[in-house]
Symmetry: C2
Subunit: 414 residues, 2 copies
């Protein structure tokens, strides 16, 4: 079964807004074994919408329309899809009653326009929307001589997602051949995509029935594995076996086995080891703290720390001797070590983590160019340092530095 996703709304044809629902829907559809063949974005224009709907009905077995179900004149999805299907609209009495009681409950008079939200394509089933006033619609029918499924969903994600999960997923599952899909996601830190692929390809290419997608982001590479089998155990065993082989090849570079973020993994290991961490951040300016505290419950393992942008604050908060900075510079191996050891003592943490570097675009020199970053991790016995030269702009350098720093904590605790 092939699907087409049609996003409706003139705002989606401006430079400011983008359809993101389709990523969510694609994920859910893929897990049922349904591939997305086309995605289309069209404005609030009846003729455009009508022609897009006709075309989608011709080329896909399942068409999901999102948006344009509200009460205003701009909202034309019902009318255009009904015309494309050659099926008229009927006004649903139960939906009309619901709209009236909705407004009555708020002691408001309902504008006439709102009744359009009770219009349902003949043969379609209305889908309740507890999070908004526009119901969705589900329709199975023949278009030309083929069986098609048509779904109308509201545009706002917090209305669309529960409606799709509660009212469409099971119905779709009943329409597709029983098959079982298993997925795995490995994440690799701080390895170039080309190296990761050249090491992984000889392995995943042996698994012709597992689909492997490699995606590189900032400071990490994701390996998405997916397979289809006739029973769930077989599907799971197949992706697990490939994941195990990949993990063996990529070794400690693999930080996540089920899609977790690096900060989630670090928080997990800290708790498991009963350890705590404190940070002294110069060029990252709070980013490492922000990432660690984005995890709920992080106060159990994150002590806190300091953002030490100036030399005197490196001394004040992280006990860095000013003589060390004077001799080696604020961006140096020695200062990074002193920061990590100092913040660990000050915060009485198991581990002290420090970053100092030049994020750019200004401040670089011949000897210490933009992108140079020192990362240090102190555990009270020995202090490790990693020096890196990151390419890219300020935000990229800062992000990679936070990746490198968090990865040092992970490797220490694994």
């Amino acid at each position: 079964m092939t699907a087409e996703i049609v996003a409706i709304g003139s705002e989606l044809l401006t430079p400011f807004r983008q359809d993101t629902n389709s990523l969510y829907l694609t994920q859910k559809l893929n897990l049922l074994g349904i591939e997305v063949g086309f995605k289309t974005v069209v404005g609030d224009d009846y003729d455009h919408l009508h022609s897009v709907a006709r075309l989608a009905l011709e080329r896909a077995d399942l068409v999901i329309f999102m948006g344009g179900l509200g009460p205003t004149e701009d909202d034309l999805t019902r009318e255009a899809v009904s015309a494309a299907l050659n099926l008229p609209l009927r006004r649903d009495a139960a939906l009309v009653a619901e709209l009236y009681s909705r407004f009555a409950a708020r002691r408001m008079k309902m504008p006439e326009n709102n009744l359009r939200q009770a219009d349902v394509i003949i043969g379609a089933m209305p889908l309740p929307n507890p999070h908004g006033s526009a119901p969705g619609q589900w329709l199975q029918g023949s278009f030309g001589d083929k069986e098609k499924i048509v779904i109308l969903l509201p545009g706002p994600p917090h209305e669309l997602k529960p409606m799709f999960e509660n009212h469409c997923l099971d119905r779709l599952r009943a329409k597709v051949p029983a098959q079982f899909i298993a997925t795995r996601e490995l994440k690799v830190a701080l390895m170039p995509e080309s190296e990761c692929d050249s090491r992984a390809a000889p392995i995943y290419k042996k698994y012709r029935n597992v689909q492997t997608t490699i995606l590189a982001g900032a400071g990490e590479v994701q390996l998405h594995l997916k397979t289809v089998a006739s029973n769930p155990q077989e599907a799971q065993a197949r992706v697990d076996k490939l994941a195990d082989e990949l993990e063996e090849e990529l070794g400690e570079f693999v930080f996540s086995r089920a899609g977790e973020s690096l900060e989630q993994i670090v928080a997990y290991y800290l708790e498991m080891r009963g350890a705590t961490v404190a940070v002294a951040e110069s060029c990252t300016g709070g980013l490492i703290g922000e990432r660690l505290t984005s995890i709920s419950g992080s106060s159990r393992s994150f002590r806190g720390g300091a953002i030490v942008y100036s030399n005197d604050l490196k001394k004040e908060f992280a006990d860095v001797p000013l003589a060390v900075i004077a001799e080696h510079g604020a961006v140096s191996r020695e200062t990074a070590i002193a920061m990590a050891e100092g913040i660990r003592r000050k915060c009485q943490a198991t581990l002290g983590l420090a970053v100092t570097g030049i994020a750019g675009p200004t401040g670089g020199t011949q000897e210490k160019p933009v992108g140079l970053v020192y990362h240090a991790l102190a555990d009270g016995k020995k202090t490790e340092v990693i020096k890196r030269n990151f390419p890219g702009d300020r935000s990229r350098v800062r992000w990679w530095a936070s990746q490198q720093a968090l990865d040092m904590v992970r490797r220490k605790l694994v």
Copy 2:
């Protein structure tokens, strides 16, 4: 002139990747007076691509194809568009020579496949690509009985953007009626979208020839103004006049007059006033520091600060008396004040900024629910406090808290 943007690539039909080039292209096209009528995403499938190309050529005056120009078997854009136009491909001798010399320079033998990148649609002009091996193409011609413009661009943003700017913009400008478009963008902090719109609507509705788009994000509302006139002065004067009226109505809530971010504005005012700021962050965990230091040159006005997740660090780094915390709690007006005043002294900054709250999802109580945040700003004379109850999840509460805190600094300095 109406445009259609076609993004090509099977990875854009997975849950993991999304076309973002179209937002950039839409912005550039809009500034020429060209509206985008449709956006389509299609996979690396010859038949699909061919039918999408035919349809786009029928319904749009300008069709921009992005991606599928590489050397592999998957890359079918040249072939499919050539067939849709009924114009054959020719192998361009100069491009062939360039490909050979490219490989020779790296002392590599060129795989035969790569020659496909030298295939150009008859009548099209190749567009040089200094950032990759796939050239683009520009073609004007008649399709059916209408004049059309067809552009083929590579998919990677760092190849697409310079190619479009250097080789397409001027050519397009020559094709559209001379018109002048002026835009303005106002940003409003910490006002609900509905309130902003109900105050702004009576004003912008008077300006029938200015298109106003209101977008609400996390903790801010953006007002995008756009107008078309026959000369640039008139266009600019028109959006400026509306912007002035809106600013007068919305007053100090307007933090940006030209689209700058809140942290950019704060950095600007700090420098202008010769002031510095230091932060003591509890629930935001480093986010405020991260935002302030995302601006290049921020070390001139940002001193640094502390992430004080635990009570003892509030004392250690921000001099908060433990008695204050014992009496009022870590999340309280009194603790926020002590944090702001303490971090200001410790860091010898002009201003001390502090945030303490409950980001959730756990840790809330009847008396102090999730979303409760105290924000304090000390200047050495008096200390302001703002208490807020933010709705939403952990990341939303933290983001809004950082917006509120930065906005306090802005208002103090304006």
